[in-house]
Symmetry: D2
Subunit: 283 residues, 4 copies
């Protein structure tokens, strides 16, 4: 592929910054999509500090006026919208504005984070934690996040061998060790747990294997953050015809857990009787 | 003890109904407080249906105008106040009024329940469930509840051998099977879980044995109903200096459980590592 | 397929009894191998009692002189040899002889059991238990066992759609909830547990997923009986560099379990820390 | 107490070595038995190297000719007999003789170990491990063992406040989470597990609390070493009337564990259903 075609094919992946693709073209052709992405990021990292800062500065504020006004790169629009950052309440907007201002004042460039790998609360946690970084570490952190952002965009744009792993997986199963087999028909809810509220992400039911027909989350990064699974196990034991005291010792079982690795596999099962349960991080 | 002294000693235990003590006096003296209580209840049960209905009718409405106005037997005042039934919101008051009216219309006597053995939500559940009873079963249920009420009052009034068991116990402990020993210093919250909200009952911290210095609840009936223990286990592992990903897989662990036996022993432990936990109803 | 070809194709499946295949031919062609087997067994069950007894009587004694002498159908030779019934010690031979004699005296036909679905000890248990049956139940039991025997032989002889399920599966995995991931490199031994001794069946090592590269047993019936898995978990924790007291709380962990369903799936995992473990029958 | 009485009272505690008591007398009176023992050991440790070696040399060989002949201090006789060291087979006697000879050749004094704190196999392990020590570390190790030996003897000889802790405790309980309560009537065996065999130490049955009426071991040091508890849980579920497949998934459950702290508390419970179990080191 010639340089013009190569740059056109990658247009929009590196927000308003054509020199990244231009710089990487000479290193091709690439054995894999992962190698292509590594070459693009190597171009970024090889630039002098001022150029790297200018590059980071090409990114829009998170939850900022530009996001509200739609005045950012199309990929950014969708990414920020995925977290609802384009429709913040006034209080939330003010909070983001204050964090953005503090961050710019400290580092001289906008806060960049791969919002598709974090819950909204985890974005705020990261914002506050990174405000404490020293400037060199923070510039590296910003560029690492741009690596995550562009890796996801690239995977959606190109096809080829050696695709980088950008998807995590969250799964569960319910084993009824009172009867000695999978628990079928158990209703399960998955919530994202925020500081002040929790949001229902999915509702599903176990099949004859005690599993869900599809993973709870797959094909995309797991947003790092806090979650809660709620298993409606009391209804399961009642449906089996067990005679249990009222109210039952176990009715809805909540399992609250954190995800730290967006590309990881989290298997969070429930091994349960009417009088006991256990869970663990499996894989 | 002569009949007058006997009746005076028991005054107020059977709400406005002196004939219960009068009827039981002849059967004495009693080998135990349990035997005394059984004799008192036998007097009640031996009366004709109309007398039993009159006896039940001597009890105040639950959460009713009399309770608001303080116009009920002193023991009832304290018992209803324990559930907050003397300070219901207007909406709650209306709900109780409606249930009381429906119940009286169906059975011809007021709804009686031993409120010290139930959470407020469990009282409402019992109210609705018992509205479906047939009249004979319901009269027996009302008298059984009066047995619970008077047994508690009696235990507080008299001393003697053979006291009936009126107290339950709720306890916990936290075992850290990552380090192989009790988890000390773990903050634990105990909530009563209602239909729409949960109320903090107690907050405590584990000692060097991984237990709480005193049971979470003891010396009184456990109110039948739904509860949640929350164990702040993330802080424990952090305090041990373990290096774990951020956010940790386990931070606050909720264990939600039902109590059906107010005089039972419920031991609800947490056996935990940074990556797994189990619980069970122990004793 | 004509009758002669059909019978030739099934020769040897029903021990010395050509009329089974002859009787089933008219019912064909068969939609599935399962349907073919059902038709063959229906022929057996439709015969008068005397013919059924004669049919059962065509089977050799278990662990008897004929087995020692090799004077039985070739399929029987291999099946009995699989349990070592062709090389019993003199004491064992005497025991089988005595059981065979008692059984024949009681029922008038030889004891038949599908030896590929049982451990040697389970064969002896079945022998003793079935001696207590009444004659009708025992004749039905013998024919049911012939159903198992011939189903296995049929599956090895013919190909086609709708093969009956004759294979079980035994699998395991080891999850280290101290580190929060699969335990790799754990040595595992699988024993068959007999009355007086245990025999090593397999030795394997977990892979990076904490699983074994292949199931412990698959593709054949699980022999109903007693087993023991031994997990060398102390070496695993030592290899991870954990500093643990000497001797460690856990070194080799034995898990002893029974298999009752030869065609079932038994997943028997170990969820383990240096100070705790759990297991369950999964699927 | 005068010096003569003091020494007489302590006679025999420090094997053939009167100067230990003589040296400690001046430091008295002692606030506690622990302080008395610390003072006695301080006398030993304050002596010059040659005197300490002579002191250690006053102890008999372990499992040696003197033990067989009874030619050692009376306390040593009982202690060695407790492990069966006075009635070794010829092969074992030869093994001890060889180890004693190798040890004496390397260090110039006999191998001393507090045999009441170890199983026989753990004694052999310690023998082999300590042969690899450098001489200074080994002299200190021998004197530390004499501290354990004399602490135990002292506790049996004197009464007083501040007794040192010389007793461990091993306990268990069985919780049936299929029924939601303690498992009563479960037969339990406790074995000491040696290299080539295991020896039954105790057989007991759980009471209504799922516990044993007395701890499995208490009042004495737990011998460091390897153990196995066997729970006859299949019989328990059968006695409850559960209908389970034959053979049951769980029948006898072995739990094998190591004890490293002879004065520690080891609680090793079984939390069990017909299809699962877990255990942990509790306290």
């Amino acid at each position: 592929m010639d340089a013009a075609g190569f740059c056109a094919a990658l247009d929009g992946i590196f927000e308003h910054t054509p020199w990244v693709a231009e710089g990487a073209h000479a290193a091709g052709p690439f054995a894999s999509v992962s190698a292509l992405h590594a070459a693009l990021m190597a171009v970024v990292r090889s630039r002098p500090r001022a150029a790297r800062i200018a590059f980071v500065s090409a990114h829009p504020d998170l939850g900022g006026k530009a996001a509200r006004a739609g005045d950012i790169a199309p990929a950014s629009v969708a990414e920020q919208a995925g977290l609802g950052l384009d429709r913040l309440s006034d209080a939330e907007f003010s909070r983001f504005e204050a964090l953005n201002a503090a961050y710019r004042a400290r580092f001289g460039f906008p806060f960049v984070v791969c919002v598709r790998r974090l819950t909204r609360d985890a974005v705020l946690d990261a914002f506050e934690r990174r405000l404490g970084n020293d400037p060199e570490a923070e510039l590296a952190a910003a560029i690492e996040e741009i690596g995550f952002i562009t890796r996801l965009r690239l995977v959606e744009r190109v096809e080829g061998s050696g695709m980088p792993n950008v998807a995590g997986r969250l799964s569960t199963h319910v084993l009824d060790t009172h009867k000695g087999g999978p628990a079928e028909g158990v209703r399960i809810e998955l919530y994202e747990v925020g500081r002040s509220a929790r949001a229902l992400l999915r509702e599903t039911v176990t099949n004859a294997d005690g599993r869900t027909d599809a993973p709870l989350i797959s094909g995309v990064p797991l947003r790092a953050g806090r979650y809660e699974l709620v298993f409606h196990i009391g209804a399961h034991f009642a449906a089996r015809g067990l005679v249990l005291p009222e109210p039952a010792f176990l009715d809805t079982v909540p399992i609250r857990f954190g995800v730290s690795d967006p590309e990881g596999h989290y298997h969070v099962p429930l091994v349960v009787t009417p009088w006991s349960y256990s869970t663990y991080r499996g894989s």
